[in-house]
Amino acid sequence: MEHGNNKHITPYSTYLIVWVALLAFTSITVSVAGINLGNLTLFVALVIAAIKSAMVINIFMHIKFEEKIFKVFLLLSGMTLLVIFLLTFTDFSFR
């Protein structure tokens, strides 16, 4: 019986590079916050948060190197949450 994905060891350097990228995006998002673009500021902040999340999930949490089923699970759960948001807003956006 296989004992899991021990075969793939993420190098220290990969983690460090991702960490630097995360810090970089954090500084971008803090700077952008200072600029008032109205709704766009929120949108940019969320996009950057999504990018940071994608890096944490793929590399730190290793999902990029796991079996495909993990990615399917993640997609399904994420989509369900998204759909819940969208449907709730059919109420509040149109009051």
Binding site: I84, T90, D91, F92, F94
Partner: protein
């Protein structure tokens, strides 16, 4: 493959605990079969408590005005009836008992993926139940908000709301962990040859249900936390005076509670997909369609929650969107019903009790489902929302649907679980009596609702009295039926005949092992070579025709 029944102990005699006999051998057992039975005993107890509450409610409602209790008591009773039936009986329901007992066996596994977590799920269930019971007796008295705990009354009521809903929070955890366990089990522990499309449909149904348990329950978890925080700290999240929105509470509540009804019905439909082929002695029609429809119902079930809120004050856009989606979710259920009927066509029907229960189910669930369309259509819902029409609808689907199949599953798998057979004639009588009792108890409620009788009302106008009286008679018939069922099963547990290992001629893996099964389910892990529901296997198996 022959079954050796000599010199092998059943799971009753051999366990996973250090203690060999007594209570400790059960409450510390990680054997999924023992856990399933422990759930069964607990749930049967709570079911009976909630039935008695229902009888008392019907006694009060037998005539206008006060009959045996005051209004506050009545409010608490209908709340408890709902909370117990939903959170302690139907939601754990078929998965906790029959899923636990049979899912591993049906995929040829020794146990679930995380047996200790499974035991913890049961303990958490018991703790939640105890908390709920304690909340009845603390100063303040039992909760009286209805099982839906709507804002603002759930914030203002002086009864023990926080403790009671915290109990629901704890019970939710049990559900989540069971779902997690089952998903992992199905993915990782199937026997050699048991591909996804060789699995029994009960497994597909339980798998789809597990996803709902996992993903939907946390939402009601956080909702409950918010209500407790509101009561304790006055945060304002749902308080209109502070900018909060009570309708947002309803959204959060139903985002779980609608998928919850699919937690209730999907496993039941899975059981139906097991019973019909066995008693029609024919392979199921449209195996893949039924399997996929379980997944479809699980997913689309997330999209319809606000049909419980059509009169709450939501936007028109939301109401139209949710009404439309509600009609869509009926489609995969329809797929199942058509395929079941097609399976029976030109089959060799053996009208044993499990099959009769399924026939009752198809009738009762169809009525429930069709009346759901009345409720799902905006124009008609306005008239019947919060009336007895709704009460009738959900009893037809939950009791006539899941409840009926809980009995069906019990009567189907009883010989396998206990190695005993019950009295068939008495069982047949029970089904017939149940059908009459059920319709007497609940059909009048459709009419009452249409006539305008509101739900959760302690008192009512004289014009509703005759039908209320008929309904109460139905409740007494139902009580008699339940007593008969209990008598039959308990008596047979001790005095019933010992049947063969496959008395019905089923071809799923549980029928290939001993009755009751041994500790690790099989003496040899089977290799699966047949297609599902291929009855040509029967000639290789021991069975009684």
């Amino acid at each position: 493959m022959s079954i050796e029944t000599l010199n092998h102990k059943s799971f009753f005699e051999e366990g996973t605990t250090k203690a060999k006999t007594g209570l400790r051998a059960w409450i510390f057992s990680t054997d999924h079969k023992r856990i399933g039975l422990m759930y069964f005993i607990s749930m049967a107890f709570f079911f009976l408590v909630a039935v008695i509450i229902g009888i008392l409610m019907r006694l009060e409602l037998m005539a206008p005005g006060k009959t045996i209790m005051d209004a506050q008591t009545y409010n608490s009773l209908f709340t408890l009836h709902g909370v117990i039936m939903i959170f302690l009986f139907i939601v754990p329901g078929i998965p906790a008992v029959f899923g636990n007992f049979f899912l591993p066996i049906m995929i040829g596994a020794k146990d679930v993926a995380f047996p200790r977590l499974n035991l913890m799920s049961y303990w958490i269930y018991v703790i939640g139940a105890i908390l709920a019971i304690v909340s009845l007796f603390m100063p303040g008295g039992p909760i009286d908000t209805g099982w839906t705990f709507y804002i603002p009354y759930s914030i203002r009521s002086n009864t023990n709301i926080s403790l009671a809903i915290f109990a629901a929070f704890v019970l939710g955890f049990s559900s989540i962990l069971t779902g997690l366990n089952f998903i992992t089990t199905v993915h990782r522990m199937r026997a050699p040859g048991m591909g996804w499309f060789k699995m029994p449909l009960f497994v597909w149904a339980t798998y789809a249900t597990a996803w709902i348990q996992l993903i939907a329950t946390p939402v009601v978890g956080i909702t409950i936390v918010l209500v407790v925080l509101e009561r304790l700290f006055g945060v304002g999240i749902f308080d209109p005076a502070l900018g909060g929105d009570p309708i947002l509470y309803q959204h959060l509540f139903w985002i779980y509670s609608h998928p919850a009804v699919y937690i209730m019905i999907l496993p039941a439909m899975g059981v139906v997909s097991e019973i019909i082929p066995t008693f029609a002695r024919r392979t199921i029609f449209g195996y893949r369609a039924i399997a996929m429809s379980s997944l479809a119902i699980a997913f689309v079930g997330y999209l319809v929650w606000a049909h419980h809120m059509f009169t709450s004050g939501m936007s028109d856009t939301a109401r139209m969107v949710f009404s439309f989606l509600t009609f869509i979710v009926a489609l995969p259920s329809g797929v199942k019903v058509f395929n079941w009927v097609a399976t029976m066509y030109k089959g060799s029907i053996d009208p044993k009790p499990p099959f009769l229960w399924v026939m009752a189910f198809i009738f009762l669930f169809s009525i429930g489902g069709l009346t759901g369309l009345v409720l799902g259509a905006l124009a008609t819902d306005i008239h019947v929302h919060d009336t007895y029409f709704v009460v009738a609808h959900f009893h037809y689907v939950m009791f006539g649907g899941t409840g009926t199949i809980f009995f069906a599953a019990l009567f189907y798998w009883f010989p396998k679980m206990f190695g005993r057979m019950y009295n068939i004639k008495l069982a047949n009588l029970s089904v017939a009596l149940f059908f009459i009792a059920f319709n007497t108890l609940y059909f009048p409620k459709f009419i009452l609702g249409y006539m305008g009788m509101p739900r959760r009302y302690y008192d009512y106008l004289p014009q509703f009295a005759p039908l209320q009286f008929v309904s109460t008679i139905g409740s007494w018939l139902m009580l008699i039926t339940i007593i008969l069922i209990i008598y039959n099963l308990v008596h047979s547990l001790f005095r019933g005949e010992k049947p063969s290992v496959n008395p019905w001629g089923g071809v799923t893996l549980e029928w290939r092992t001993a009755s009751p099964p041994p500790l690790e389910n099989f003496h040899e892990i089977p290799t699966v070579i047949h297609e599902p529901y291929d009855f040509s296997q029967l000639k290789d198996m021991k069975y009684e025709s």
